[in-house]
């Protein structure tokens, strides 16, 4: 038999499709938000997994450089699913000075799989005496596929410590992780063997990531490998779970029984980053709990919004059906039947809404992840890219949580429905009961916004629960936004004090001592590296290369003198300031390309190439034992000031100040690591003036150190660039051309604080976006359902004579009040947090307090924008119907 309540409910939903759609959208949005959190979290874990699989391989745990006994135990252990083995055979120096070479391992098939060893050319060794070498070895030695090579293999022990008798102890090494062959090593020969090269491989996860010392090469794991070598065992366990930890413990015990110089001290660890994907980590580690905690907090906050959204949707469709419920009650429907009506509606809406919500959440996250990819890659220095990847388990969890949310949200309206009496239906009750105390509004509202403002605020407050939920979420968005981006703002400022703002990702510096040398080929080579992207060339002279001079304190700012004095106070034993009242100044010179210099210095500055004509930077960044300070106008030197210098065995010339500039043109080594009583003076000049200087030095047969530096500002591909720089520095390590003193590169790995700031920023932005979506949905839902439900009220209001302008103002203010209220609470709090953050950072980095006005403005604009936009959607639906229609609407 058909259930009459269900039939009625369906009919009711069909009868007002617009109302049903609004409710459905509310449900879908709630599910979308929940899904987005799950999808985002799992995609991130998946990224970690893929990156770990690429960097390390797909093994779960390993015993690195262990003994044969451990390997034997492992191969008999039935917890182990797959076991990849590499038996260290020995090392072969491939360079005259024994700086690098090959480390040979006999490996099995599982090893290739678990470590992601990729065959680039040829076929992987299947028999003994077949050999796979890396591309680097092939390039450095010129060995070809099919070539027969003879390897004179050595086994090496490195000094480890001292025993109780004072004798040196040693531990064996299989090759990875040590540099060259030192005289302090104990080296045994294990004989010469013939191999045929059958493959060129990428060693995958079996690699020292950045240094070329001992490149691995592989042969088949056969009997002929001399005993007592080191083994590397990589395993997966099945099923993955607690047994992994037990196994690891067992390996530890097995290994402990071995002598220290024969595998007893090998590394036993887990492929942690990969295991996180399976929800596993070292016991006692807080990483996963922190991750899940973050997820839970996010979910919780979203749940507050989602529940209020869904509950309201149901409450409204219920109150609209008060008539029907009252009629049902009058013909004798039981409470359960009335309750069922709302629950059945929730069920139908869930049935339609959850699949849509899951799809929308995944879709939205997919787009968001693509947008976040670049930043996440930079942040973690990942080569794998971030994209949507959700396990069904997580989707099921999202769906379940969504279903729970809906059920929970429908519960209260359902209970209310069960209490509807015929009388309520006649009197049109069923709306949320109002309390006089909630409906109080201050005089201030009336004064600022007029009577429409009062009406709007009362309308906002009529649904107290939702009003609070929206205000809370909006306020939270503001606090998170201000505190989160504020922190990274201060971190950036602090880093600006430390490195100068916008530091390059990497730099490569070549120092020359021959002024006659044509240096362009060197810089051109660096500019042509793969993945370079945007880069610039700067040059210069280091502090000291231009000598030094003494400056009276009279010519320094009071702030500078105070600073110098405070520094001397810190080291009283060396009282140099005594009566001298002067300090030593070391000029340093930065050279910019002519066009860049012109653009930076401006039209007014023209330099005279007859001497070292420069612009002086008036702000000085100082570092004294980890405390960073910025001084402005420290030295009272004016344009026209000049000074000769002549370094013994170095350059000699005259420098001259042509103009002043407040800030350094771009970041670089601008911080002076000061000794107690000295300061640096930063000068900037153009390339042509510097070239003229070099020409003068050449004609005087002078030699001295100067450098050119490539600054990679926005690399196209960090990994490609890093590889290129590695090769470049490797090539240079075989000897530098005449006239070149040194060549090195730096990747300015972001400081911990800066990374943290950036991570925080990404998280905050994502979080705030989600919150804003929840709020937007809530406000829109609240307004649009209000519009429909309150059609008669608005009709009355219009019939009493509210002008269209005032009416629009009321609706507009209603949406805006959520934001205004939220800002009232959250801005002071957010600013308080900002101040705390500033105080915390100021302990290490001194810079004047500055309010990140743009962030505060952004927060205000965001919140009001969210409100305004939500209202806009609603207002579009308004108008049309006449007052008479509106008034009659709810009567029948």
């Amino acid at each position: 038999m058909k259930n009459i309540i269900h039939t009625l409910t369906r009919a009711q939903m069909r009868a007002n499709p617009r109302r049903t759609l609004v409710t459905l959208i509310g449900v879908i949005l709630s599910v979308t938000m929940l899904t987005a959190v799950f999808a985002g979290a799992d995609s991130f874990l998946n990224l970690l997994y893929r990156q770990a699989a690429q960097d390390n391989g797909t093994w779960h745990g390993r015993a690195f450089e262990t003994g044969e006994q451990v390997v034997q135990n492992l191969s008999q252990d039935d917890r182990v699913d797959q076991l990849g083995l590499a038996a260290g055979w020995g090392m072969v120096p491939l360079d005259d000075q024994n700086r690098w070479g090959a480390a040979l391992y006999g490996v099995n098939q599982s090893f290739y799989q678990l470590l992601g060893v990729e065959c680039l050319e040829g076929t992987l060794p299947a028999k003994e005496n077949e050999l796979a070498i890396t591309r680097t070895i092939a390039e450095k030695t010129g060995w070809k596929l099919g070539e027969q090579v003879s390897l004179d293999l050595l086994r090496v022990w490195t000094p480890q410590g001292m025993d109780s008798t004072g004798a040196t102890t040693y531990r064996q090494t299989s090759g990875l992780g040590i540099m060259g062959l030192s005289d302090s090593y104990v080296i045994h020969s294990v004989g010469e063997n013939q191999f045929t090269i059958t493959a060129i491989v990428d060693p995958g996860g079996f690699d020292d990531q950045n240094v070329l010392t001992w490149e691995p090469c592989f042969t088949a794991l056969e009997e002929q490998i001399p005993p007592d070598g080191l083994w590397c065992a990589y395993y997966t366990v099945n099923p993955l779970g607690q047994e992994l930890y037990n196994l690891m413990e067992d390996i530890q015990n097995w290994q402990a029984a071995l002598p220290a110089d024969a595998g007893g001290v090998g590394t036993i660890d887990l492929n942690r980053q990969l295991l996180l994907y399976y929800g596993m980590d070292y016991p006692g580690s807080l990483l996963l709990p922190a991750f899940y905690g973050l997820m839970a907090v996010t979910l919780l906050i979203i749940l507050v919004g989602a529940v209020s959204l869904a509950r309201n949707a149901f409450a409204i469709s219920m109150s609209e059906r008060t008539q029907m419920l009252g009629m049902l009650a009058s013909v004798g429907a039981t409470r359960a039947q009335k309750r069922q009506s709302v629950l059945y509606e929730a069920f139908i809406l869930g049935l339609i809404g959850i699949p849509f919500g899951l799809a929308a959440g995944c879709g939205g996250m997919a787009v968001a992840l693509i947008l976040l990819n670049q930043q996440v890659q930079e942040l973690f220095q990942f080569t794998q890219s971030l994209y949507l990847s959700v396990r069904p388990m997580f989707l099921v969890a999202a769906a379940l949580l969504a279903a729970l949310t809906l059920a929970f949200s429908a519960l209260q309206p359902a209970l209310k429905a069960s209490r509807v009496t015929p009388m309520d239906a006649i009197r049109g009750e069923g709306q949320i009961q109002l309390h006089s105390s909630d409906m109080k509004t201050g005089k201030l509202t009336r004064m600022i916004f007029g009577f429409p403002g009062v009406l709007a605020l009362k309308n906002c407050k009529r649904n107290r629960g939702r009003y609070r939920a929206i205000v809370f979420s909006l306020a939270l968005s503001v606090i998170v936004l201000v505190a989160g981006t504020g922190l990274s703002y201060y971190v950036d400022r602090a880093m600006g004090v430390r490195y100068g703002a916008g530091s390059p990702i990497a730099t490569a510096t070549i120092t020359f001592n021959d002024p006659s040398l044509d240096t362009t080929p060197y810089t051109d080579e660096l500019k042509a590296l793969a993945g370079t992207g945007e880069a610039r060339v700067v040059g210069g002279l280091q502090a000291g290369a231009m000598g030094s001079f003494t400056l009276d304190w009279a010519d320094m700012s009071q702030e500078t003198i105070n600073w110098l004095q405070s520094q001397t106070d810190l080291s009283e034993e060396e009282d140099t300031s005594g009566g001298s009242q002067s300090s030593t100044i070391y000029p340093t010179l930065l050279v910019m390309e002519d066009e860049e210099f012109a653009a930076w210095a401006g039209q007014g500055v023209s330099l005279n190439p007859d001497y070292l004509d420069c612009v002086m930077i008036t702000s000085t960044y100082l570092n004294y034992e980890g405390s960073y300070t910025q001084l402005k106008n420290a030295l009272n030197l004016r344009p026209g000031f000049s000074m000769d210098f002549a370094q013994e065995g170095g350059f000699a010339d005259t420098w001259h100040i042509a103009a002043l500039a407040e800030d350094f043109p771009y970041s670089g080594n601008t911080v002076t690591d000061t000794s107690i009583d000295s300061l640096t003076l930063q000068l900037v000049t153009s390339r042509s003036v510097f070239q003229a200087f070099l020409d003068r030095q050449e004609s005087q047969n002078r030699e001295g150190a100067y450098y050119w530096q490539i600054q990679y500002i926005h690399p196209e591909s960090i990994s490609a660039l890093t590889n290129g720089l590695q090769d470049w520095s490797l090539n240079n390590s075989y000897g530098l051309p005449a006239g070149v003193v040194s060549a090195y590169y730096n990747t300015l790995a972001m400081g911990g604080l800066q990374r943290f700031g950036m991570l925080l920023q990404i998280l905050c932005v994502g979080f705030v976006l989600l919150l804003c979506l929840v709020c937007m949905a809530n406000i829109h839902n609240s307004l649009s359902t209000g519009m429909e439900l309150r059609a008669r009220e608005y009709g009355i209001l219009r019939s009493v004579g509210i002008t269209p302008a005032d009416f629009r103002k009321m609706i507009w203010l209603e949406s805006l009040f959520y934001g205004i209220k939220a800002l009232c609470w959250s801005l002071p709090l957010g600013l308080g947090v900002l101040a705390l953050e500033y105080c915390a950072i100021r302990r290490a980095f001194q810079f004047p307090f500055c309010l990140p006005v743009e962030i505060v403005v952004l927060a205000i604009v965001l919140v009001l924008g969210v409100c305004w936009f939500s209202g806009l959607l609603t207002r579009r639906n308004l108008a049309e119907q006449t007052i008479a229609q509106a008034i009659q609407k709810t009567i029948c």
Binding site: E429, Q433, L434, E793, V800, G801, I802, T803, P804, I887
Partner: protein, 227 residues
């Protein structure tokens, strides 16, 4: 003095064969201080007429003058302002805004007008309405009769030229109904308020000066009521 004049007033709903002529070519006028009752069978167009007189509906044809102002020549804003100053409307039920308390509901037209409330006048009115101790309550805390008295008070607070009431007692029992009618008669007799009241109740119609009977969108009879 003529206060209200209606000429060739028509209101049609829909188009083609399904068209409903709710009101068809109606003309009449009302003098200042008159108490007019409007009666007629259900669906005859009484409410439609009242909406048109109150300037809250769109007309199909015709003109409505209130105190010499052609209502449907005014733009929306001017009409709204005219309405809140010169016309009071009372419906059968739900006349009050649930978020406003009695006092605010009562003074709503003044508040919308940005005018100050004359406290003594308000107190007097509350006394007449018999709700002086209910001023801080929300509408749902009042009885139906009290609610209806508040809506009449609201309609009269600006001393409008015209009070239009659509079955003001339709929802009330005879005791409350009597109180509401007494109130309307009080304002008619003591203050010379012009009243147009739609009703199904003969006893109420008898209290009026004049009875207009509407039938099928036309004025069927327009006669003076003998006391």
């Amino acid at each position: 003095m003529e206060l209200l004049r209606v000429e060739h007033l028509s209101r049609y709903y829909g188009e083609g064969p399904a068209q409903v002529k709710a009101l068809d070519d109606v003309s009449f006028s009302v003098e200042k201080g008159e108490f007019v009752a409007i009666m007629g069978p259900s669906g005859s167009g009484k409410s439609t007429l009242m909406h048109l007189l109150g300037g809250v509906d769109k007309l199909t044809a015709g003109q409505v003058w209130v105190q010499g102002t052609d209502l449907y020549k005014l733009d929306e804003t001017a009409l709204a302002i005219f309405r809140r100053r010169q016309i009071g409307l009372v419906y059968q039920f739900y006349n009050l805004l649930p978020v406003l308390n009695v006092r605010e509901n009562l003074t709503l037209p003044l508040l919308l007008d940005g005018r100050n409330v004359n406290e003594t006048q308000l107190e007097q009115l509350a006394q007449i309405l018999g709700i002086q101790d209910r001023m801080k309550h929300l509408p749902h805390q009042l009885s139906g009769g009290q609610q209806q008295r508040v809506s009449i008070g609201r309609a009269l607070i600006t001393s409008p030229a015209l009070l239009l009431a659509d079955e003001p007692t339709g929802n009330l029992d005879s005791k409350n109904s009597g109180e509401v009618m007494a109130l309307l008669r009080y304002f008619h007799e003591k203050k010379g308020q012009t009243l147009l009241v739609i009703t199904h109740d003969e006893r109420i119609a008898c209290q009026a000066d004049r009875l207009i009977t509407v039938e099928d969108g036309h004025i069927a009879r327009d006669e003076a009521v003998r006391p």
